[in-house]
């Protein structure tokens, strides 16, 4: 029982880390460009499909990962230059609608290219199998690798934002876009880079998660909505908030699904305990979000209401 609990904790961490890869791009794009991007889930899907296609073609998962990063970044840059750029000055309603249209285009285009049947990505041999964890339970090596990879990317992102020239520009862009343009920074290129960076992170998450689940059209949408919940909890525009929010949502969701049905067995018979528990568990993160917003309307680390 205790080892099952530990295993679920690790699963929660894994889901939180993957969510962070999604949410960080979303929150960066909002923070720097003031854009709400519904099509972020489509970039996640592009990454997963690119990984599956390249891995099937070359036989190498690693090349697939590179492919997912490249494809999502290129798709992101193109979309930014063709469509998104025209939306910065518009109100949020136009942004929601235009990026909703992008979802239709991406989903239907992918269905056209790859068909409606899900693709499967297999785990590379090095990372297949399980490892015995402290506490004596078996845990898949691949999931462990995802956690480590995700945490590495998260640290890299914090270093990029905090320590590099590009990071300074991104933070300056969040604070005052007019000023940094006046100081001679090419703001158009900066925006394209930020958008492509967010897209690449989403694509990477898509490739990772696509390996543990199946790769199919529409896979990005549930994750997108979770990522929204994350950045709303963390405070829109805050990378730190995205990290805390991701972990909070990842743990709450995983542990809720695991613990609530067990907890309700103390009060109900097992069948209805499972029903009530799982119904409540699927709503739990939204309840957490409502609570956070009730106490802090602009999220945990948000500044702008």
């Amino acid at each position: 029982m205790f080892s099952l609990f530990l295993e679920q904790l690790l699963n929660g961490l894994q889901s939180g880390v993957m969510l962070f890869l999604m949410a960080s791009g979303l929150t960066l794009v909002f923070g720097v460009m003031g854009l709400i991007n519904l099509a972020h889930g489509s970039l996640y899907m592009v990454g997963a499909f690119a990984c599956a296609a390249v891995a099937a073609w070359t036989g190498s998962f690693w090349l697939g990962l590179v492919g997912s990063l490249m494809a999502a970044a290129i798709a992101g840059a193109l979309v930014e230059m063709i469509v998104i750029r025209r939306l910065y000055a518009r109100d949020h309603l136009d942004q929601v609608l235009a990026t909703f249209a992008l979802i239709l285009i991406f989903s239907e285009g992918t269905r056209w290219l790859f068909g409606s049947f899900p693709l499967f990505l297999s785990v590379p041999d090095v990372l297949s199998g399980t490892v015995v964890m402290p506490g004596g339970f078996q845990y898949p090596i691949f999931r462990l690798a995802i956690i480590i990879a995700g945490l590495t990317v998260a640290i890299g992102l914090f270093l990029l934002i905090g320590k590099t020239r590009l990071g300074i520009r991104i933070r300056a862009g969040e604070a005052d876009r007019g000023m940094i343009a006046a100081l001679g920074v090419n703001i158009d290129r900066l925006y394209t880079i930020v958008f492509a960076l967010g897209a690449a992170l989403a694509g990477l998450a898509g490739a990772f998660v696509g390996t543990t689940q199946s790769v199919q059209v529409g896979m990005g949408e549930p994750v997108l909505i979770l990522a929204f919940v994350v950045i709303v909890i963390g405070g829109i525009g805050s990378i730190k908030g995205a990290l805390i929010g991701s972990l909070l949502v990842g743990f709450t969701d995983t542990m809720g699904r695991f613990l609530l049905p067990i907890g309700f067995e103390a009060f109900f018979d097992p069948a209805s305990a499972t029903a009530i528990g799982s119904a409540l568990a699927s709503m739990l993160i939204y309840i957490v979000m409502a609570l956070v917003l009730f106490l802090r309307p602009s999220g945990l680390f948000g500044t702008e209401a």
Partner: protein, 328 residues
């Protein structure tokens, strides 16, 4: 009364909406009548959203939840009535019903209560937060509907016989269209009266400048909350009719795609225009039908078209045909 271009356009739209099914009846094309019924129902859902979005500036991305609540009110009450199972038996017995009027009242009350709760929390925020939180609440209700097994869960719930309305054979396509068209007319008239009333002016004032409204002694929060609730109720009413049209209700009525679609009706037709949602719904359903019958991946051209409308044709169909809004 002088008629401006928008009024004339509205009259043409109303005449078209009524004429098309009548011609279809004469030509024995029941499918076209069903399409027109869909336009009336989606138009009604859009009229509901337009009160919050168009007049109040409240970009709710979760109206599918209310649409679905209306649908489930029809589905749940009808399934209890058709299976002869009381909804509850202690302390007193409550039975299901197949009377549309009772169903509508339940749909309106249920959606009002839930919209009051959701609105009280979400309206504390604004801008992007409001968009995302309304979306998140709708997802919460959506997942609840999926995981709650009593009423079909993910598979949904069939309504074996369309619910009844006194003095009307609702199974006849043209009669059911007539019923939906009358309801749409009622909602349009209500909406037209509402936006010209003191309340409607306060709502539009709150959209333009909340602080000035406070300065003249009107609390924007309360005005917005009432508008949000009214908006949700109208959308739920449309949802109850939609469930009866399909004789089926499932969580997909509450999916965020549905929220997006209702929003698309409003924007395609023209935000804050009385007949905008009806024009938008008509255009959307015509496109869906025309593109869908020629091209398997019809959402691809639809998406491109939508993108072009947002980027280059602001003001939607009504804006294109009747010019800018007079009191924007």
């Amino acid at each position: 009364m002088t008629m401006n271009r928008e009024t004339i356009l509205n009259i043409i739209l109303a005449v078209l909406l009524i004429a098309v099914p009548l011609i279809a009846q004469a030509m024995d094309e029941p499918f076209i009548i069903t399409l027109a019924t869909k336009v009336a129902i989606f138009g009604m859902a859009g009229v509901g959203l337009n009160i919050a979005l168009g007049y109040g500036g409240l970009v709710s991305f979760g109206h599918a939840a209310f649409f679905g609540i209306g649908g489930y009110a029809a589905g749940i009450l009808a399934s209890h009535a058709l299976n002869y199972e009381p909804i509850m038996s202690t302390p007193f017995e409550i039975n299901g019903t197949t009377q549309m009027i009772v169903i509508w009242v339940v749909a309106l009350i249920a959606s009002a209560v839930i919209a009051l709760l959701i609105g009280a929390i979400t309206l504390r925020t604004s801008g992007v937060y409001f968009i995302m939180i309304t979306l998140a609440f709708a997802q919460m209700i959506y997942y609840f509907a999926i995981s709650w097994p009593a009423y079909g869960g993910e598979d949904g719930l069939s309504i074996y016989v369309r619910n009844s309305f006194p003095g009307l054979n609702t199974l006849d396509p043209l009669s059911f269209f007539g019923l939906c068209a009358v309801m749409l007319g009622i909602v349009l008239a209500f909406s037209a009266v509402l936006i010209r009333s003191r309340f409607g002016l306060a709502l539009q004032g709150a959209r333009q400048n909340g602080q000035r409204m406070m300065a003249v002694g009107i609390a924007p929060f309360r005005v917005r909350l009432v508008a949000f609730v009214i908006s949700a109720m109208i959308t739920a009413w449309a949802g109850a009719l939609y469930a009866d049209l399909n004789r089926f209700v499932s969580p997909s009525m509450m999916s965020w795609h549905m929220s997006g679609e209702i929003m698309v009706f409003v924007i395609l037709g023209g935000v804050g225009r009385l007949f905008g949602p009806v024009a938008g719904a008509a255009l959307y359903i015509m496109l869906e039908h025309l593109l869908g019958s020629t091209f398997e991946f019809w959402q691809l051209p639809l998406g491109i078209l939508l993108l072009v409308v947002v980027l280059f044709a602001r003001g939607g169909l009504i804006g294109l045909l009747a010019g800018e809004r007079k009191h924007a």
